[in-house]
Assembly symmetry: C2
Homo-oligomer: 326 residues x 2
């Protein structure tokens, strides 16, 4: 079965409209934006709003509903053709202007905006995120004292017991219908796994590894190295470092937040699993310290190069592994 | 969340190697090929074999194991770099030559082959299939009386009761957080749904709609219009036409076949659901007749344009809908 072909004409079709269905049906995501916008009508009344990566236009329509003077929705995908139909059908064409193109190349009807709304987050927060575009829009269009929604995002890490699934994912390659496919093991281990994790398999406290303040962060800050310190809560074996992120809308009359963690309601971002080489047996209280280095791949800057280093003094074990999110 | 970017550099990464994992773990698929090859060693002994779209090289290795004189594996994806490692690791480098490129452009070390093996099938058999490449290879390289594996594939159709899921897929768009998204309904209905179906929801006899004999079929035959006649087995409501395909390896000492239908073991091809407009209430014995017209999209010939017409005289109902697999 050959995959690549269909991708080549993505821009000429709605064939990935399924992702919009998935995002709209993600209630943690969409209801959080809805509440952040509609429970803060005072902030939106008569304001100029920019929706970065508007997709089907749902956030733009929330903003218009909240009393915005005018909303500009920008997206480079031709899903925006559908957004136009939807906005028109819902009688909001006079309040919402939809523009297809790259934020860096288009001209907006308003040169200054009071509020920027955007659902820019990708897997592991930063993978294929549109944050760089949001920051470009912030620096070019946002008035002093303007509002960005959301305005804070935080990546967390924890230790994960995942023996059974890891074994299935890795050992499979030792004997593939009688052949040795072990070179694939390294690929499996080098690809962060985006999946939902059962909270019962999280065996350490969560640790905040990276925080983004959307009012002040610069694009270059998104290449970061951060430390973590994870303390085992129980006697168990760690096979991976688990990561997730929280999103906050703070600078509001009525703040809103949601989490994509294993303790929270399912989101389409799920969680991200970084398998370590081997495993480490821990007793309650043992600490695993280390660092995550995350930066865009130099050749394909939509890819993330991630290096994870860890050490457990109590067990006299440690490791270092390079991952790439593609 | 933005999807398209990662697709643009597919060819420069293994990021879709997951599809190879999925295909290898599909035992209906891979064991069928293994049995077709290894239970017919007499046919492979000292033969020249061509593996069209060799992927990770599993079929090429089966053929080498079966005693082939030499196997040539061709694939345009750079997964072939991994295939080389695997073939080498399994000590078969002298028996297997792997060539990266398009079948139409490469030069093979042997100009004639005795056997062509290929796992070329896509969703709904023909979506993003490599069959055209297999037929090119057949016409250019296969010796008279040579063998093609598999040599027969058949598409079947049946009536599907799918009220609950269809309603969820379609009605959702009537009220999306208070907005009318109904234009998306047409997109949902126009996209064949690739999913597994519970056999209990299949409410008619299966009907053969299209058969391919790989020894004689021509590329132009793959644009086809075929009729179906489906008789309800029970009193129930039909919401969709379900399609699947069977694969046969016939011209062998020990023939092999497998099905991707709802009655068979799970395969990664699942089944394909074509929702009709509305629904039709049937009594046992009622017949739904119609036709499926399937041809490559003129602009993007990897897309499939499918037109489905149906009529139920007993219920005095009928319909026609256009679908596109992208």
């Amino acid at each position: 079965m050959s995959l690549p072909y269909s991708e080549q004409h993505y821009f000429s079709s709605y064939d990935h409209f399924g992702i919009h269905e998935e995002m709209l049906k993600d209630e943690s995501r969409t209801l959080s934006y809805k509440h952040a916008i509609l429970r803060n009508r005072d902030l939106f009344k008569d304001k100029i709003v920019l929706d970065v990566g508007c997709g089907t236009g749902i956030l733009s329509m929330f903003a218009a509903q909240a009393g915005a003077k005018h909303v500009m929705g920008v997206d480079m995908s031709n899903i925006i053709e559908m957004a136009r139909k939807i906005v028109d059908l819902n009688g909001l064409s006079d309040k919402i202007t939809l523009i297809q193109g790259k934020m860096e190349e288009i001209t907006l009807p308003y040169q200054k905006v009071d509020i920027i709304i955007s659902e820019w987050m990708g897997y592991f927060l930063l993978y294929e995120s549109m944050l760089d575009t949001v920051l470009y829009a912030r620096d070019k269009y946002l008035v002093p004292g303007g509002i960005i929604m959301p305005d804070k995002s935080t990546i967390y890490a924890a230790l994960l017991e995942d023996g059974e699934y890891k074994d299935e994912k890795v050992s499979f390659w030792d004997d593939v219908y009688g052949f040795d496919y072990s070179p694939f093991k390294d690929i499996v281990l080098s690809e962060p796994l985006v999946d939902t994790v059962d909270l019962r398999h999280v065996i350490s406290n969560p640790c905040q590894v990276f925080e983004i303040d959307l009012y002040t962060v610069k694009v270059e800050d998104l290449a970061f190295k951060a430390n973590f310190d994870l303390k085992a809560r129980v006697n168990d074996t760690a096979h991976a470092i688990l990561c997730w992120f929280d999103i906050e809308f703070n600078k509001l009359t009525t703040p809103v937040k949601f989490s994509t963690g294993p303790h929270a309601k399912y989101t389409h971002w799920k969680q991200t699993v970084f398998y370590i080489d081997g495993q480490v047996s821990l007793r309650a209280g043992d600490e695993v310290t280390g660092s995550i280095d995350c930066r865009p791949n130099e050749k394909n800057n939509r890819d993330l190069d991630i290096t994870l280093e860890w050490e457990c003094k109590a067990e006299n074990k440690g490791g270092k592994r390079f991952y790439c999110m593609k």
